[in-house]
């Protein structure tokens, strides 16, 4: 029920947006996230975005993971 799926916004109309992941497009609501732009990634639950997912944050997140694996190697 509470799936957290990252989707890419491809069009916006008011509080409604279309978002996609390879092969799948769906309509979502973006009422709860400020300044969503086409091209942004958002984390989507039961039909609405709860947060943006910024490229730099994902890279930072991966870097932090790499820190762990590097430390253990």
């Amino acid at each position: 029920m509470c799936l957290a799926v990252p989707l890419k916004v491809i069009s916006i109309e008011g509080n409604t947006a279309q978002a996609e992941i390879e092969g799948v497009k769906r309509t979502i609501r973006i009422d709860f996230v400020k300044n969503v732009n086409v091209g942004d990634y958002v984390i989507v639950h039961a039909g609405f975005a709860i947060e943006k997912l910024k490229e730099e944050d994902a890279i930072e997140n991966l870097r932090l993971i790499k820190e762990v694996t590097d430390a253990l190697k």
Partner: protein, 334 residues
């Protein structure tokens, strides 16, 4: 046991098994039926034929990649094919809901015509019923089929340790396509149902004669449920590797969005086969030469590690049980 039928009883999973094993088999038990295979192998005039039936209630009855007519032909042709038979004759029985558009009926019949030509089967007998508005859902179709048995020694009892498990292509597309075409869940989904006849694939596999242990088309309940059917009540385990399972990335994405496990998503143009490991690579290579088999893969092996269970080795190297479908993942997919 419940006192009423709920949708889960039609899922193809555990409740469907209960229904069949607790209610139908005790009364109608006979050697052929008890096998609960895709079709029955029968002696007629001391020749062997295969006989299979399925009713199709798929909703929507037009879906990406096919329609209920194509599905009804492929469904029974495929059941006969995985029995080791050459499908020859089909019956066609329609239950139409009042108000159904003749135009749509014509399309469906056209699709039955085309598919049966491709499958080289003849529709030789039929029936038509009409039910009142609100007593059906557009159209339900039963096909039953007869095939000449070409290879007769398939069965669960042939499975042995070390055998390889082969799937003939990417899994879960039919269930995903149906799901995507319902309820406006998604606006667009690029994958079509895999609905197709598997006769050629079956023949390709059957070349390997007694090295082929059993075949089945993983429809309702998906790959996970069919694999369970292979080993339930046996001493064997099927162990498969997540990373070996061919799956379209789009299908995987849809399943992720909708919270569905593609291993339980229906297929309508795939075979799961268990073959002797000595020929497994060759079988896969042969399958890959056929367009429908181009993604064929060995996905696992038969062991005795966890009797009667199917075990999935995850991408991370962990393992977990892969049980039969429980509940109704998605009703009316076929």
């Amino acid at each position: 046991m419940d006192d009423i039928i709920t949708l889960s009883y039609g899922s193809g999973g555990k409740k469907t098994s209960h229904l069949i094993e607790d209610i139908i088999l005790p009364s109608l038990s006979c050697d052929e039926l008890n096998k609960l295979s895709d079709g029955a192998v029968l002696d007629v005039f001391s020749n062997k034929i295969a006989f299979s039936t399925d009713s199709f209630v798929v909703s929507p009855y037009f879906f990406p990649g096919g329609d209920i007519g194509k599905l009804a032909v492929c469904g029974t042709v495929n059941d006969l094919s995985v029995c080791g038979a050459k499908p020859e004759y089909l019956s066609l029985s329609l239950i139409i809901e009042e108000g159904f558009k003749i135009e749509e009926l014509k399309k469906i019949i056209k699709s039955i015509e085309e598919t049966s030509k491709i499958c080289n089967v003849k529709i030789v007998t039929g029936d038509t019923k009409v039910v009142e508005k609100g007593k059906g859902d557009g159209i339900y179709i039963n096909t039953s089929g007869i095939g000449r048995l070409i290879y007769e020694d398939l069965g669960k009892d042939k499975i042995s340790e070390g055998d390889a498990v082969i799937v003939t292509g990417c899994i879960g597309d039919h269930g995903a396509a149906i799901m995507a075409s319902r309820n406006n869940l998604v606006d667009e989904f690029n994958v079509k149902s895999d609905c197709a006849p598997v006769y050629e694939l079956a023949q390709c596999i059957l070349q390997y004669g007694d090295k082929v242990k059993i075949m089945r088309d993983p429809t309702r309940g998906g790959v996970a449920t069919t694999l369970n059917e292979f080993v339930e009540n046996s001493e064997f385990t099927i162990e498969i590797s997540e990373e070996k399972i061919p799956i379209n990335v789009e299908t995987n994405n849809l399943c992720e969005i909708l919270g569905i496990d593609p291993l339980y998503s229906a297929n309508e143009g795939k075979i799961l086969a268990i073959v002797d490991s000595s020929v497994a690579e060759n079988v896969v290579n042969d399958l890959r030469k056929i367009e429908l088999g181009k993604d064929a893969a060995i996905i696992g092996y038969v062991t005795k590690n966890f009797p009667s269970k199917v075990v999935l080795h995850t991408n991370l190297g962990g393992k977990r049980v892969l049980s039969k479908l429980t509940g109704a993942q998605l009703p009316r997919i076929c």
